[in-house]
């Protein structure tokens, strides 16, 4: 059984925001909600880097732990999904998420939060695969069609990788060998890696 993972290579991301747009279009995400976003650090400086970020499908997901109605579940592929029928829109998952992934459409009086929406790894929800109900609530279920997330599929520089953790790691390992450094991956602390410190 696969263990699905995203990896964004900061050496390759060119901040084109196509992953954001493709995701929004593929799943017909509600007004005001983006499941993915691109963040540029040190914009305009020599050390400028961009990263695409969405739900990282944590193994021990904080969102799931704090949900008052226990509406999250993890699939066999390690994808963290949620049940919108149970969601009450309290916002606790957003407070707990390190990546700011859960988003809320403004719904109802006094700017009340609607039901939470987040990246599904193109894996839909609890309803029958690609049923109209699932499509309306969670967007397309590409995993059920044997396809991988569209954001990574259409990434022009292949900065964003999505798929089985071993496959993703193998691809990135090839890049590390070619570059002679592991710079670029999420959270690599280059302080401890002489090859990657500040060069190239």
């Amino acid at each position: 059984m696969a263990r699905m993972k995203f990896l964004c290579d900061a050496e390759r991301c060119i901040e084109c925001n196509a992953c954001v747009t493709a995701c929004k279009n593929e799943h017909e995400v509600q007004w005001g909600v983006n499941r993915r976003r691109v963040v540029t650090i040190n914009d305009g400086e020599p050390t400028e880097k961009s990263l695409s970020v969405a739900c990282m499908h944590c193994t021990d997901a904080p969102c799931s732990a704090v949900c008052p109605v226990d509406c999250f579940y993890t699939t066999e592929d390690g994808v963290v999904l949620h049940n919108k029928d149970a969601c009450i829109g309290c916002g606790y998952c957003l407070f707990a998420c390190p990546f700011g992934a859960p988003q809320f459409p403004q719904d109802g009086a006094f700017g009340e939060r609607g039901k939470m929406d987040k990246c599904t790894f193109c894996g839909g929800g609890p309803e029958e695969d690609n049923s109209p109900a699932e499509r309306a609530k969670y967007g397309r279920n590409r995993l059920a069609e044997g396809k991988l997330p569209l954001c990574a599929e259409m990434c022009s520089t292949k900065a964003l990788l999505a798929g089985d953790a071993n496959e993703v790691a193998d691809i990135f390992r090839e890049r590390v060998v070619a570059r002679g450094s592991n710079r670029g991956a999420w959270g690599q602390n280059l302080q401890f890696n002489p090859l990657g410190s500040g060069k190239g």
Binding site: V39, N42, D43, P68, D70, G89, L94, F104, F110
Partner: protein, 330 residues
């Protein structure tokens, strides 16, 4: 009466506490972010460290904190909420319930020692009763829905499942969010309705010295319109905790109208819950004394009138004052 001065003092006191509590919580993530410093010139390591510390970058997606890649405080918040808050909060509430049950079993309800005279005197005005019951009903609804949000998953989850919780709490959240401002309004009215009766009186020191006669047999301590126990509930419970919980709740409300950072919301949820647990714990004592704990107490708030025997046995100085034709107020 220095009524205005007292009110102003109470408000300043409360605001000062809220601000210092917030400062206390705000200080925590700041110290956590001060990690080891990089060797100079190691720019790549620097920006990864900044990402970990939540320094915002630039994002085309607009909204609160969209430029922040990682907010490490979320996991700490999860540990604090699911750990100590739920564990100790639950323990405090259950312990208070246990103490009350034990007290009831050992001491039993406080009954009148002499037969009622049949002559009634007014203890509460209709306005006071309206404000009291308005606060009481909204408080109970807020308490039940709030407890369901914090403990519902643990207590009811195994029984009704995620779907059942979702249905129950969807309604619960609506009630909690919409009644919150109503509760705040009632609390403010309640404070002004009973403020001048809850000032310090000389007889209160005797009440404190004898712990309200709680552990002595038949020892009644004369008190004014309200005894020191009731005054403690008024100042610590209704005024301080009531305004604190309602105030933090108001700041948590209206999520989309004001953009607030996750750090602020995390702190507010914790402060709100801690205050609410303490307020609920105190309220158990008040509810016990006002219903089964003291014979005739519930009647007084229902009808506004008490029997003269009740007045003499529970609030002797107030009774003497009223009989002498004065207001009975301090």
């Amino acid at each position: 009466m220095p009524l205005n001065a007292l009110a102003a003092k109470a408000i300043r006191w409360w605001l000062g506490l809220v601000v210092s509590c917030c400062a206390l919580f705000a200080a925590a993530p700041a110290t956590a972010a001060d990690g080891p410093k990089a060797s100079p010139g190691d720019a790549v390591a620097d920006y990864w460290r900044e990402v970990r510390q939540g320094v915002p970058g630039l994002s085309q997606v607009t909204g609160a904190e969209r430029g922040v890649l990682i907010n490490a405080r979320g996991e700490t918040w999860r540990q604090q909420r699911n750990g100590p808050l739920k564990r100790y909060g639950g323990m405090v509430l259950l312990a208070m319930l246990g103490i009350i049950v034990l007290f009831y079993l050992v001491k039993g309800p406080m009954k009148l020692s002499e037969p009622p005279t049949g002559r009634k005197i007014q203890r509460f005005t209709p306005f006071e009763r309206f404000v009291h019951w308005g606060t009481a009903i909204t408080f109970i609804l807020m308490g039940l829905t709030g407890l369901a949000i914090l403990f519902g998953r643990t207590v009811l989850g195994p029984l009704i499942g995620s779907g059942g919780l979702g249905g129950l709490l969807a309604l619960g959240k609506l009630v909690h969010n919409y009644l919150g401002p109503v509760f705040l309004a009632f609390t403010i009215l309640l404070i002004f309705a009973f403020l001048r009766d809850n000032v310090w009186q000389k007889c209160d020191s005797e009440w404190i010295a004898k712990a309200g006669g709680m552990f002595s047999s038949g020892g009644h301590i004369p008190s004014g319109r309200f005894n020191f126990g009731e005054k403690t509930w008024f100042w610590l419970g209704v005024t301080f905790l009531g305004l604190f919980v309602a105030g933090t709740g108001l700041l948590l409300n209206f999520p989309a109208l004001i953009d607030r950072t996750r750090d602020l919301m995390q702190n507010l949820v914790l402060l709100h819950a801690i205050g609410a647990v303490l307020l609920l714990t105190m309220s158990f004592g008040h509810i016990y004394m006002g219903t089964v704990g003291v014979q005739g107490a519930l009647e007084s708030m229902k009808t506004g009138e008490v029997d003269e025997t009740w007045a003499r046995e529970h609030h002797e100085l107030w009774y003497d004052d009223v009989k002498a034709g004065r207001s009975g107020r301090p």
